[in-house]
């Protein structure tokens, strides 16, 4: 079993994308390999301009809740999702994009931030990475 973490990022909710990227960066910082498999609503966040656009998973209140949480996060010095994503790449993290989601949601490669994506793939790739990972999470 490799010292590796494989996370499915299924949710596109802002708070859950935060959880995924914080865990992923923590694992990289502690010397693990990490793959993030973006699918369904999660994949929407890899669209150009889409990273910060997810709602809050609870109490979004048409964006008012999100605005309040973001304000508190800024005050607490929490990094932006963009910084976490750049750090993730700098520390050698791998991003996989689900091609089935692309097909059913009509997303083209040009719509996505292709420079961040290591591979376009399906469940077989996820399982071959997950089966050799000590840590697997579905977010």
């Amino acid at each position: 079993m490799a010292d590796k973490a494989t996370l499915v990022v299924h949710s596109g909710d802002m708070d859950k994308v935060y959880s995924a990227l914080i865990i992923a960066n923590g694992a990289l910082a502690m010397g693990m390999e990490v793959s993030l498999f973006f699918t369904f609503w999660g994949l929407q966040r890899l669209k150009k301009g889409g990273l910060e656009s997810g709602p809050l998973s609870r109490m979004n209140m048409l964006g008012l809740g999100k605005w309040m949480v973001k304000r508190k996060m800024k005050k607490a010095g929490v990094a932006s999702l963009e910084k976490l994503l750049q750090d993730f790449k700098e520390l050698g993290g791998k991003i996989l994009a689900c091609d089935m989601t692309m097909e059913i949601m009509g997303i083209e490669k040009e719509d996505l931030r292709d420079d961040l994506i290591s591979d376009y793939c399906a469940v077989g790739t996820y399982i071959s990475e997950a089966r050799e990972s000590r840590v697997t999470l579905f977010i």
Binding site: I22, N25, L28, M30, A76, G77, A79, D87, L91
Partner: protein
Amino acid sequence: MSEIRVDCIGETCPIPLVETRKALRKAEEGDIVEVIGTHPSSKKEIPMAVRALGLELMDIQEKDGVWKIRIRK
């Protein structure tokens, strides 16, 4: 051999850990990385990362809520 300073004062999870790792990746073997910060959990967790990475934890100090961790690569 050089000494690299990482200032994480005011930063919160996971930035102190991430910035420490970034500095350690760039450092040459034998270099010293000194991290300063204020996030309480990072004071415990940076040493955990240092052990996991098999590096040498040289010193941990704290004064007035600011901690300083020294690591040798």
